[in-house]
């Protein structure tokens, strides 16, 4: 039996919109083990991004428990959350979220800047991360000088550079064409093979089939949770 890295119990997220309340998560529970590769699917507005943001410590839940590696995240202060974002989780966004005025290398170095890695070491690690996503020849290009797929590779290199155990990706192929999307998914496959835990949000069945387990959401709760049989896997 594998140990759980992520344990979620009765997670609720309610957005207070003044007159109305939006219930994005309605008491959601989920366990994810070390080195699992999970795809989260579901219709638009079912709370996938909301969950991923909470898992990534970008947002906090309204109630419920979130345990990460045995630590209660729900009780942490802002600095501790920043530390988790920095060291334990790599986040990949649909829209890349790169700093437009910095080149690829500087973008990838950014997490190291906030973890007191000495500048010389930073450079080496950022170069390695960019090489591992196949962008050794684009180090000094700015985001607007890169294609969508290349930008997402930079973003993945950035998510990897601090060696986090968990990679979260919210529709990482959503802004890319099918072929480029597949290249990106190959990268995730490698990462999983290297021992990372991967949680990926997507609405494309094809993409979800890269994973080993599909969790389907509906209206803020888990509707279905099933493994992907080896025959179906891409």
């Amino acid at each position: 039996m594998n140990a759980s890295v992520i344990q979620i119990r009765d997670l609720v997220k309610t957005y207070d919109m003044g007159a109305t309340q939006v219930h994005a998560l309605r008491g959601l529970s989920l366990d994810i083990d070390v080195n699992e590769y999970v795809a989260i699917m579901g219709p638009s507005g079912s709370g996938k991004s909301t969950l991923l943001n909470i898992l990534g410590c970008l947002d906090v839940s309204s109630s419920g428990q979130y345990e990460l590696n045995g630590q209660q995240v729900s009780e942490m202060d802002d600095d501790a959350l920043a530390h988790i974002r920095n060291r334990e989780i790599g986040f990949v966004f649909q829209t890349f979220n790169l700093l437009p005025r910095s080149d690829a290398l500087d973008n990838v170095e950014l997490p190291l800047v906030y973890s007191s890695v000495p500048p010389s070491e930073r450079r080496d690690r950022a170069v390695n991360a960019l090489e591992s996503v196949g962008l050794a020849d684009r180090m000094h290009h700015r985001p607007n000088e890169l294609s969508g797929g290349q930008r997402q590779r930079v973003a993945i290199a950035r998510a990897l550079v601090n060696d986090p155990a968990i990679i979260l990706a919210d529709e990482p192929t959503g802004a890319l064409d099918t072929r480029t999307g597949k290249e990106i998914m190959e990268l995730f496959r490698q990462l999983h093979a290297q021992g990372n835990t991967i949680i990926l949000v997507t609405h494309e069945e094809e993409i979800a089939c890269y994973s080993h387990r599909i969790v389907r959401f509906r209206d803020g709760v888990v509707e279905r949770d099933e493994p992907v049989s080896p025959e179906r896997r891409t």
Binding site: N53, G56, C57, L58, D59, D78, D79, A82, H83, R85, N86, R87, F91, F93, N97, L98, L99, R101, L110, P111, V113, Y114, S115, S116, P119, R158, N162
Partner: protein, 415 residues
């Protein structure tokens, strides 16, 4: 992220918006330049009047002949003439006799004249006086001697040169024993005074002070005997009273005034001035000047600070996504706070630096064109930097806090 990196980061931020950065700094630049320039003008004026006053002697009372025709009071003159003959040696003797606190009483007869030595001429003030004047003036000899009591009683034609007069007439030659011609009379130079380095002017709007380094001193008796003056001119132009107890200068002045009034039958053909009082007066004026200028400079620094705050708030809004990205990658609140705070600090310190340079240049230009003395004091520069830093932090803290308090997800979602 350490401070050096934060600073490097904000330099990148600032240089990517050069014009905006410059405009943001303008308020600080002018505020700081104004502070330094004002203070240096004030200090220059203060030093100047201090020197002028010191040159008159801080424990002196000065009785000056008051030529009313200069002040446009022609009518008063003729009637006064019948009652009083103006300042005289008897006045000086009377003060010396009656007034116990007088240490020295020196009569002076001054007149403008051209002085000649060889082929050099110099427009000078000839001062006929007594040997005590050297002490009263607080002056020292740079060479030779001052004339003696015997020179006065013998009405000898000897003279002592002020340093500027010496330089104009003899350059670097030794003038002792040389002869100087004043209005067809020849005088032998027996001494030269040390440079006092003061410029002329009018203190407190009352007392004329000239550059005494340009004077030539001769025995009073010689002046009165050798030179022809108009009949209606007073015998003396000034009586200087050095008081033993400098604590009671104003009481002493009252007594001197009483003595003079009695002797002149109430005619006000003299003015009494106390340099020490003028000093205090000018210090008071100085203070008022400083307060007014301080307020003006303070207001422009305030405006500068508001300018910084405005731009920083706009910059926080504009860079909300960047803040979100940094926070998502592990930046703590205090990292974001220091990033924006250091940025506003850099703007204000850079503005302060340019302001200091400008604040240095403005007084130079003023000195060049208006001839005012200006002195930039080192502490005003320290003050300017201190104030700039305070403005940068004071007005930068609010926008920086706004940036730091954003939640990562809100910042990332910001459009």
């Amino acid at each position: 992220m350490n401070l050096r990196e934060t600073a490097a980061l904000s330099i990148v931020g600032l240089t990517s918006h050069k014009l905006r950065t410059l405009l943001t700094m303008l308020g600080i630049i002018f505020g700081v330049a104004a502070v330094i320039a004002m203070l240096s003008i004030g200090e220059g004026a203060k030093q100047e009047s201090l020197e002028q006053i010191r040159q008159m002697g801080i424990s002196n009372i000065i009785v000056q002949h008051w030529d009313k025709s200069e002040d446009g009071l022609e009518d008063a003159i003729n009637s006064d003439r019948n009652l009083s003959q103006g300042l005289s040696r008897e006045d000086a003797e009377a003060i010396q006799r009656i007034f116990p606190l007088a240490e020295y009483v020196t009569p002076q007869r001054e007149f403008k004249s051209k002085a000649l030595a060889g082929s050099n001429t110099f427009n000078t003030m000839v001062v006929g006086t007594t040997p005590e004047y050297l002490t009263v003036l607080n002056a020292r000899m740079s060479s030779g001697v001052f004339f003696s009591a015997e020179d006065v009683t013998e009405t000898r034609r000897v003279c002592v040169l002020g340093s500027d007069a010496k330089r104009a007439l003899f350059f670097f030659k030794d003038p002792i024993g040389q002869r100087v011609k004043i209005r067809s009379q020849w005088f032998t130079v027996i001494g030269v005074l040390e440079d006092k380095g003061a410029a002329g002017g009018k203190i407190g709007g009352v007392l004329e002070v000239r550059n005494t380094d340009e004077d030539i001193y001769v025995p009073l008796t010689t002046v009165l005997r050798r030179f022809q003056f108009a009949n209606d001119e007073a015998e003396l132009t000034q009586i200087t009273v050095k008081v033993t107890d400098s604590e009671s200068l104003s009481e002493a002045a009252t007594i001197v005034r009483a003595i003079m009034n009695r002797r002149h039958r109430g005619v006000e053909d003299f003015k009494i001035a106390i340099p020490e009082e003028l000093l205090r007066q000018s210090q008071k004026t100085q203070q008022i000047f400083n307060v007014v200028m301080g307020c003006i400079a303070g207001i422009s620094l305030l405006v500068g600070g508001i300018g910084i705050m405005n731009i920083m708030l706009a910059s926080v809004l504009e860079r909300t996504r960047e803040i979100g990205i940094r926070r998502a990658l592990g930046a703590r609140r205090k990292d974001i706070l220091s990033q924006f705070l250091v940025e506003s600090l850099m703007v204000s310190l850079l503005g302060g630096t340019i302001g200091v340079i400008l604040g240095y240049a403005i007084p130079e230009v003023i000195t060049l064109y208006a001839g005012w003395r200006t002195i930039v004091q080192p502490w005003t520069i320290a003050l300017a930097f201190g104030v700039s830093a305070a403005v940068g932090i004071g007005f930068g803290i609010y926008p920086a806090r706004q940036a730091a308090l954003l939640s990562p997800i809100d910042a990332l979602r910001y459009e």
